[in-house]
Symmetry: C2
Subunit: 410 residues, 2 copies
């Protein structure tokens, strides 16, 4: 029999739009021995996590809990629970993850209208509102922070229009939660999905969601109680019941409620990680955390600019936590990325579809978003570019970033 | 702002049918810093995990990888990918988790025929085969180890019949994998789903699946390539495409193949845990591991019997890793369970539906399945029963278990 070697992953400096580095305290939390899923200590941790998630999403919603899966599990749970077959769904698309929303909505059997924006820009909310007036959607689904293009979409105006037209607004805040403001209640968002492995700096594996009473009313109409758990009463069954058991939010909320109706076996160690990661976020404070992300973006952009590199996309809609850099003419972007990883131990990202080979994407997210990482990356990128025969002014990138840091009252 | 306290879960002796205790080496694996999802070191770990899963499932199948979610995510992925709306699905049910298969098949839009067996027994394969002959199913879906009743269903005859009738056989081996033999190829199983938090003793959060070329042929017919990832070629789209993006096994296998077509962000730390847990399983060896589970079951049963307790269900079909005990007349089962947890730090389980309040379920799974745990439980159960006014012969339970252990060549 083959003997497998000890697990021994290298230490990386991860400057991608996720997954990013994880605070050692979060890593440590996963190494605690597990509790049973109905152990009162464990359900206590579940309740506490819900409370923390409400703070994170800046909401008074009753429901805020993780879906047990990677980020897109949360998106699919919200969509499959809220979109009945035949529902009219409006999806404004300004990058790859808008296409994912379209994809999932189609799989839900929706009648979809998409609006497409040139990549690198976002929508003026009025454009979305105009389309809503003619299409009269039941649901609007939109990405908040689009990592494929590094853009952030303003949402407040769209939230108000959805309320006025009685549509539900589903927001993919996977890339933004914990890095830039996401104001669930103030912006009138009906369902919001966050990601763990980006600005929260928790390993991939859970998808925090929150939704309000308007969303709940719709999904409860489509809920089923699972066979094998039904009690004596007659089961009144909706004809358009949710087509997934795993993602039926009505059942998930029963599991997360004091009723604790059995569904899946909650991911114990991932929940420990989520709870510890949220604790660190709330200890830092949302405002301070957003300011920190803005500071390191500023230093990174100053450094890149001083090196003569150009940013991609409309500056007005730049997403703080992802900086897209045009690969200079004549430079093999993948060769530079490989050198950064193999020789400097630093990971940055390429992009998708039309942007593949055209831009690099640099993340400044969560625990990865810190001064020594930004300085390390700028120095390494200079070294790799010079090594690839691209003339950059040596030393200027790091100095420009240091200038930004030094100018702040520390 | 509220300050949240440090995470500090109590140490428990977990003798339920899952989640069970986790080997400290697996817990430690989750505390390693993360790698990026396309880092060659990480994709190397993914490939190695697939190799280990083939050994675990005793299969030459090309495809063996985890679905990122709890156990039922793997079940839903297999079912939603393999069951097209209108497909005829036969589901023999002998406990709660058979009802779950029924539930999921209905949500997939299947035409379902169920066979029901009195709880506490399993099917003679001939009964299933007879039903197949008249119903002519496209799919047969069945539970291997039913934790709700503590039974194990023989599968080999059913596998052969499915092959003869050109039906696909989907097997829920969540409770059995790593504890009792699961012979994917020898028994002609087309798709098998394992669980992590039971006999593999890895925290809940991943669902290893394997499927053969027959299953693959069907699911590839129903696959879509995700919008936003499609290349120039014309997309030939099946009309009965898989109704889930997250659970489309055709897309998952592209992500797990050398093609690495982006889908979700693999759960880094959970994959570390899975890889380490599988390493320990294979190091112990499947045969030795099954023998260990049988030994501790024997000691546990000897102890319970010596205390005058009666087992539930047909002894012929008893599942090695779950022992169901009839709660003695006049004893409040929940009060005893609570005392075991609160005073002795030991968790055992109750059951579902018709068995609620009638039986306790004791798991001897994975890392929890060891001599000191069995002895500790027997002593504690004696103490709790005496404290609840139920006369048990003091001391005999532990002595009977020790006799079993001492009789073995150690």
């Amino acid at each position: 029999m083959k003997r497998y070697e000890d697990l021994s992953p290298s230490l990386r400096c991860i400057m991608t739009p996720g997954p990013v580095e994880v605070d050692p305290r979060v890593l440590r939390a996963m190494s605690f021995p597990v509790l049973g899923q109905f152990d009162p200590e464990f359900t206590g941790i579940m309740n506490e996590t819900m409370e923390m998630l409400r703070e994170l999403f800046v909401t008074d919603n009753q429901w805020a809990f993780p879906v047990d899966g990677t980020s897109r599990s949360g998106i699919e749970a919200a969509m499959v629970s809220l979109i009945a077959p035949g529902d009219r769904v409006l999806i404004p698309i300004f990058g790859r993850f808008g296409h994912l929303l379209h994809e999932i909505a189609e799989r839900c059997g929706a009648e979809v209208l998409t609006l497409e924006k040139e990549w690198g820009c976002v929508f003026d909310p009025e454009e979305v509102i105009a389309a809503m007036k003619s299409f009269k959607p039941d649901i609007v689904a939109i990405v908040h922070g689009e990592t494929s293009t590094g853009r952030v979409q303003p949402l407040a105006g769209i939230g108000r229009a959805c309320r006025e037209q009685d549509a539900l607004l589903i927001v993919d805040a996977v890339a933004t939660i914990g890095g830039v403001p996401v104001e669930t209640d103030a912006w009138l968002l009906d369902a919001v999905i966050g990601g763990t492995q980006k600005c929260l700096s928790i390993p991939s594996g859970m998808a925090p969601v929150t939704y309000n009473a308007r969303a709940e009313a719709k999904l409860l109409k489509r809920k089923r109680v699972e066979r094998g758990l039904r009690t004596g009463e007659v089961q009144v069954e909706a004809l358009d019941f949710v087509r997934s058991n795993y993602f039926d939010l009505g059942m998930l909320q029963d599991y997360w409620s004091p009723q604790r109706l059995n569904h899946h076996t909650e991911m114990t160690s991932m929940l420990y990680a989520l709870r510890e990661g949220l604790r660190l976020v709330l200890e830092e404070g949302l405002e301070a955390r957003h300011a920190r992300h803005a500071l390191h973006e500023e230093a990174l952009v100053a450094g890149l600019t001083a090196m003569g590199l150009k940013l991609y996309g409309d500056p007005q809609s730049k997403l703080t936590v992802v900086t897209c850099v045009l690969i200079p003419e004549g430079v093999d972007g993948e060769a530079v990325r490989t050198m950064l990883l193999e020789r400097f131990g630093i990971e940055i990202a390429s992009s998708f579809g039309p942007l593949k080979g055209r831009i690099w994407r640099i993340g400044t997210m969560g625990f990865s978003c810190r001064e020594n990482n930004v300085l390390r990356l700028l120095g390494a990128l200079e070294g790799a570019l010079l090594r690839h025969g691209h003339a950059v002014p040596a030393g200027l990138g790091v100095q420009a970033a240091l200038d930004v840091y030094d100018a702040k009252v520390r």
